[in-house]
C-alpha cells in the first residue's frame, strides 16, 4: 500500500471530539450536541453495532431506582467491594444520576422490565442492595441510540466517521487540542483539531490470551484493545488502579458471560464439581474470583452455572435471554457441544486478565466531572476509573463528560496542531507498511499476550512480574519490526502497540503495590497480606514528561461522603458531608 505524506491528510475540526462511539461515546455526543457543541464521533468500527452493546445488553447491573435502593446503599456497597479504595464522589454520581439515565433511555425507546404495578423490577445480586434491572428488549439498545444520533435535531451537530481510528491525542501546553489517526479501510491520514477530547474507547479487552488461544475470543469486544488507556497515557494523563485487573467467571472456551445475574432471579446459581454452592453472593468481585479460582484449582473443580434443576419453562425463558441478546451465539456454542441446559449444567472457567473499570477499577483517573488530569481531556465508560461502573455508569459518565466538555470547548483556544506529535503518530501508524515482510501481527500479538498470561496472571509475584516487564520491553523490538500490507493490518498493528503499553502498565503497577488487595485482582503470592498502613491509597501512574518514564504516585482516598456501615477506614480520615444541590440529580432532590 501507498504511505501518505505527513501533510497529505484529511483535516477535521469540531468543538468536542469523541473517540469511540460505544455506550459512553454515543451518550457523550448526544449531550454535547444538546449543549450546542459541534461534535465529531470517531469510531473504528461502525457506531450502529460497535462496542460492548454490539448486540445489546440483557440488563442494567447498577441502577439505583428510588424506592428500591438509595444512592447511599449503592456507594457503600461499591466501597466495600473495592476494599475501601474509591473516590466516592465519582461513584455517587453513578448512583444519583443513573435513574435519570434510565428514564432518558426510556424516552428514546429502550424498554426496562416492570412488574404488575408498573414499577421497575429490580433484583438483588449485590451483597446488600437491589440494583439489577432486566431489559427484556435489550438487544435494541444500540439501535435506539443510533436512531437518536441520526435524528434530525441531532444530526446537524453530530458528525460520525466510521472506520477511522485515532491513535494519539494531540496536546499543546499540556492541554488536549485534538487527535491523529487514520482511515482503516483507505489508509488515509487524518488529524482533528478540537476544543475538547472525550476518550470513550472501552476496556483493554485484548490483554491476556484466552485459554482457547484465539486472539479475538475475548470477553470484551476485541475492538477494545486498550486504545484509550494508551492514548491517555501518552497524552500525559494519570491512570489509576491498573493493578486491579479485570477477571471474570465465564462459559469455558466461549468466554462470554452465562451470567448469574440473569440466572439468579430464575433460581440458577454457581456450584462446584461436587454440586455445592461455594460463594454466598454471585456479585462479580475480586473476592468472588478468588473463591472461584480456589475451587477450580482444587479437587472440587470444575465449576458450573447450575440450571438443570429448573422447570422446563423457566429454562426456556433463560434461553430466550441468553441466546438472543448480548452474546446471542451462546446457543450455537452449546448446540455444537450438545449441551442442553435441561440436562447439563454450564461449565465455567475464569477469563484471561484485562483492564476495565466497568467491571473492576482499572482506568484513567477522572473526577466527578469526567475530567482527567489533562485539561480538555475527558474519559468515560470502561476506560475511566469509576469502579464497577458497568453500562449505566458508562451512560452517566458519557453524559457528564459531554456536558462539561461542551462548556470547556466554548472558550478553549484552538492552537495550531503540534506537527512533531503528528509526525510521531504518522510513524506509529505507517511504519509496518514500510516493512511488509516483517513478522505479521497475529504472531507478534500472540507472543505478547502469551507473556501476559505467563507473567501477570494472578497470583502475582515479584519475580514473575519482573520477567513480564523484561518481556514487554523486549517486545518493543518485535513491534518495531512488524509488517503490514493493508490499512486493515495497520489497524491491528497499532492495536498491538496499545496492548504492549497496557501490559507494561499492568506489570509495573502490580510490582509497585507491595501488598495483596481486591481478592484475585491483585493477589500477590509473595506479599499475601493487605497492608493498610502503607497502601490504603490509590496508586496512580503517568508518563513523566522529564524522562518519558512511567512514574507512580500515591493519592490519598478522599474523605467519604457516604458512611459505610461496618467499614472502619484504616487511615481514620473522617467523613465529609454528602454533596447536595447541584450534585444531586432531579430524582433525588
Amino acid at each position: 500500500m501507498q504511505i501518505p505524506q505527513v501533510d497529505d491528510r484529511r483535516r477535521l475540526e469540531c468543538d468536542v471530539l469523541v473517540v469511540g462511539g460505544g455506550t459512553a461515546g454515543t451518550m457523550a455526543a448526544l449531550t454535547a450536541a444538546r449543549h450546542g457543541a459541534s461534535v465529531l464521533i470517531m469510531e473504528k468500527a461502525h457506531v450502529r453495532h460497535s462496542g460492548a452493546l454490539a448486540m445489546g445488553m440483557d440488563g442494567v447491573n447498577n441502577a439505583v431506582v428510588p424506592g428500591k435502593a438509595t444512592p447511599e446503599d449503592y456507594v457503600a456497597d461499591i466501597t466495600v467491594a473495592n476494599d475501601g479504595i474509591v473516590n466516592q464522589r465519582t461513584v455517587h454520581r453513578t448512583a444519583t444520576r443513573g435513574f435519570e439515565m434510565v428514564q432518558r433511555l426510556e424516552s428514546y425507546g429502550v424498554k426496562f422490565e416492570k412488574d404488575e404495578h408498573d414499577e421497575y423490577a429490580v433484583r438483588k445480586v449485590h451483597r446488600s442492595g437491589s440494583y439489577v434491572l432486566p431489559m427484556p428488549e435489550g438487544k435494541e439498545v444500540k439501535k435506539v441510540l443510533y436512531r437518536e444520533l441520526r435524528s434530525r435535531k441531532v444530526r446537524a451537530n453530530v458528525m460520525m466517521t466510521n472506520r477511522v481510528m485515532p491513535v494519539r491525542v494531540l496536546t499543546e501546553d499540556g492541554r488536549a487540542v485534538g487527535a491523529v489517526g487514520f482511515d482503516t479501510r483507505t489508509g488515509e491520514f487524518v488529524t482533528v483539531s478540537a476544543g475538547a477530547v472525550i476518550l470513550a474507547a472501552g476496556a483493554c479487552g485484548r490483554l491476556g490470551l484466552p485459554a482457547s488461544g484465539y486472539l479475538y475470543g475475548t470477553y470484551e469486544n476485541p475492538t477494545n484493545a486498550g486504545d484509550g488507556y494508551a492514548m491517555a497515557y501518552h497524552a500525559g494523563a494519570e491512570l489509576s488502579g491498573i493493578e486491579c485487573f479485570q477477571i471474570n467467571p465465564l462459559i469455558k472456551d466461549y468466554n462470554g458471560p452465562a451470567c448469574a445475574y440473569v440466572a439468579n432471579p430464575f433460581g440458577g446459581y454457581q456450584v462446584n464439581g461436587e454440586g455445592n454452592r461455594f460463594v454466598d453472593c454471585d456479585y462479580w468481585s475480586g473476592q468472588m474470583m478468588a473463591e472461584v479460582k480456589r475451587e477450580l484449582d482444587s479437587s472440587r473443580g470444575p465449576i458450573y452455572l447450575k440450571l438443570s434443576h429448573l422447570p422446563d419453562t423457566t429454562i426456556g425463558e433463560i434461553e430466550g435471554i441468553l441466546h438472543t441478546t448480548e452474546r446471542p451465539t451462546r446457543g450455537t456454542f452449546h448446540a455444537g457441544r450438545g449441551t442442553d441446559y435441561r440436562e447439563r449444567d454450564i461449565e465455567m472457567h475464569i477469563s484471561e486478565i484485562g483492564l476495565c473499570s466497568g467491571h473492576s477499577a482499572s482506568g484513567v483517573w477522572v473526577d466527578e466531572h469526567a475530567r482527567t488530569t489533562v485539561p480538555g481531556l475527558y474519559a468515560a465508560g470502561d476506560m475511566a476509573c469509576v469502579p464497577h461502573n458497568y453500562m449505566i455508569g458508562a451512560f452517566v459518565y458519557g453524559d457528564i463528560a459531554g456536558e462539561d466538555a461542551a462548556s470547556y470547548a466554548k472558550t478553549a483556544a484552538r492552537p495550531e496542531l503540534p506537527e512533531d506529535q503528528i509526525e510521531a503518530a504518522h510513524d506509529l501508524i505507517y511504519r509496518p507498511a514500510s516493512n511488509p515482510e516483517g513478522p505479521p501481527q497475529p504472531q507478534v500479538e500472540y507472543k505478547l499476550r502469551r507473556f501476559v498470561n505467563d507473567y501477570l496472571q494472578p497470583p502475582k509475584t515479584e519475580r514473575y512480574l519482573t520477567l513480564g516487564v523484561e518481556a514487554f520491553e523486549r517486545m518493543r523490538v518485535d513491534i518495531a519490526q512488524m509488517g503490514a500490507r493493508t490499512p486493515h493490518e495497520l489497524m491491528r498493528c497499532a492495536e498491538v502497540t496499545f496492548i504492549r503499553d497496557c501490559a507494561e502498565m499492568a506489570a509495573r503497577a502490580s510490582l509497585t503495590r507491595t501488598e495483596s488487595r481486591w481478592g484475585l485482582y491483585h493477589s500477590r503470592d509473595d506479599l499475601p497480606v493487605q497492608d493498610d498502613a502503607n497502601w490504603f491509597c490509590h496508586l496512580n501512574l503517568s508518563k513523566d514528561p522529564s524522562n518519558e518514564q512511567m512514574r507512580f504516585d500515591r493519592r490519598p482516598v478522599a474523605p467519604y461522603i457516604v458512611p459505610v456501615p461496618g467499614f472502619v477506614r484504616p487511615d481514620g480520615v473522617p467523613d465529609a458531608p454528602a454533596p447536595r444541590g447541584t450534585e444531586l440529580a432531579e430524582a433525588w432532590r
Binding site: G51, A54, G217, T332, F333, E437, P439, H488
Partner: protein
C-alpha cells in the same frame, strides 16, 4: 523474513446464492471489519480470521445469507 501461507478455518460463511449483488450491509456492520466483498464474485466473504462471534453480520443480512459459526479453536 521467510513466510508460509497457512490455511485457517474461518467462522463466518456466506451463502453466495442468496447474497445480493451491490449489498454491503454485513461488511458495513462488522465491528472487526472482517468481512469484505470479493472482487471476483461480488459476494460477501470473511477476509480475515478475526471474529467475536457476535452476530451483527447475520442479524442485519436481509436475506439470511450469513451463518456465524463458533471459531474453530473454541468450538
Amino acid at each position: 523474513m521467510a513466510q508460509a501461507n497457512s490455511r485457517a478455518d474461518v467462522p463466518v460463511t456466506v451463502d453466495e446464492e442468496k447474497c445480493i449483488d451491490g449489498c454491503t450491509l454485513c461488511v458495513d456492520m462488522c465491528p472487526l471489519d472482517s468481512l469484505a466483498i470479493h472482487p471476483e464474485t461480488g459476494k460477501a466473504y470473511m477476509h480475515v480470521d478475526e471474529c467475536w462471534y457476535c452476530g451483527p453480520c447475520a442479524a442485519r443480512c436481509p436475506v439470511d445469507a450469513v451463518t456465524v459459526n463458533i471459531p474453530y479453536l473454541l468450538r
